[in-house]
């Protein structure tokens, strides 16, 4: 499986999920947010063929706007828990959509998505591992980065904690 294959699947899955279930037309591919940006990071691992890890980093204003669209609520009335629940579900859907695209005949099992970093101006956020394939999109309220890594090595301590 090539990086191009995974990246194409990431781009397609992000666009499809946001358009179909969040009623959001993205504004195209964007650069990744700078270190220290206010983002929410969700991680989930998956088992099967292939196995690996998925991570999503979404700008906090974008996470709030996306949650409001999904629940049909006003952004100002959302609780932090509601916003977190939707962000977790968004990660779950994107990861599942990517895996279904790259291995439609394989069986996989998604782990439970978890917020692993939800710190304003998180300067301590871990950099992406080199072998991670990433795709960043502008949502109109901030960027969303989806990243996937197929399992060929031991997960980091953070990833073990998350799974």
């Amino acid at each position: 499986m090539t990086e191009t294959t995974i990246r194409t699947a990431l781009a397609t899955a992000v666009g499809d999920v946001l358009e179909s279930m969040f009623f959001l037309d993205t504004l195209g591919e964007a650069g990744e947010p700078p270190a220290g940006a206010d983002t929410v990071t969700v991680h989930l691992s998956f088992e099967g063929d292939p196995a690996g890890c998925f991570e999503m980093r979404v700008a906090r204003p974008a996470a709030t706007a996306i949650a409001a669209d999904f629940l049909g609520e006003d952004a100002a009335s959302l609780t932090p828990q509601q916003s977190a629940d939707v962000t977790l579900e968004l990660a779950n859907m994107i990861c599942g959509a990517v895996l279904s695209r790259i291995e439609s005949s394989a069986t996989f099992r998604l782990g439970a998505p978890r917020v692993v970093a939800d710190i304003v101006a998180d300067d301590t956020r871990e950099p992406w591992p080199e072998e991670t394939t990433r795709y960043t999109v502008e949502t109109g309220s901030g960027t969303l980065t989806a990243a996937m890594r197929m399992e060929t090595r031991t997960c980091t301590a953070t990833e073990k904690y998350a799974s």
Binding site: E19, S20, L71, D85, N92, A97, S100, S104, F108, A112
Partner: protein, 128 residues
């Protein structure tokens, strides 16, 4: 006609979304029960009759596959149509869930009209 449905998903956000889609699709609901996994769903079904079940697969506790097995093994509950809603669009999984008795399978992401059509087909009635 008003329908009674049970939505089983470990994500509160997803349960809320599915309920909203059903209501916006024109289905009148006289009752909409929610459960976080198959065990909670079976507990609801001990006391409440529903016209249709919409269930996720990947859930902690009793997952969607085991939930469908238990439904099929229960002579009182086996006739309730169940629609699977899942991110898993792999052919093996879809075939396995349909073989276990699922009447329909909707893969996430889905458009609201897709879920509406699946409900109409499963319940055997068009809605406005």
């Amino acid at each position: 006609m008003a329908y009674r449905v049970l939505i089983t998903d470990d994500s509160p956000a997803m349960r809320s979304f599915v309920r909203r889609v059903i209501e916006l699709s024109g289905f009148e609901l006289s009752a909409c029960y929610e459960a976080g996994d198959g065990a909670e769903a079976l507990a609801v079904l001990k006391n409440e009759w529903v016209d249709a079940i919409l269930t996720d697969i990947n859930m902690p506790g009793v997952d969607g596959e085991e939930f469908l097995r238990r439904l099929a093994a229960d002579e009182l509950l086996c006739g309730i149509p169940a629609i699977v809603i899942s991110t898993d669009a792999t052919q093996n999984r879809i075939a396995r869930l349909l073989a276990l008795g699922a009447r329909g399978y909707v893969t996430k992401p889905f458009r609201p009209e897709t879920l509406r059509a699946e409900l109409e087909r499963t319940l055997g009635v068009p809605c406005d």
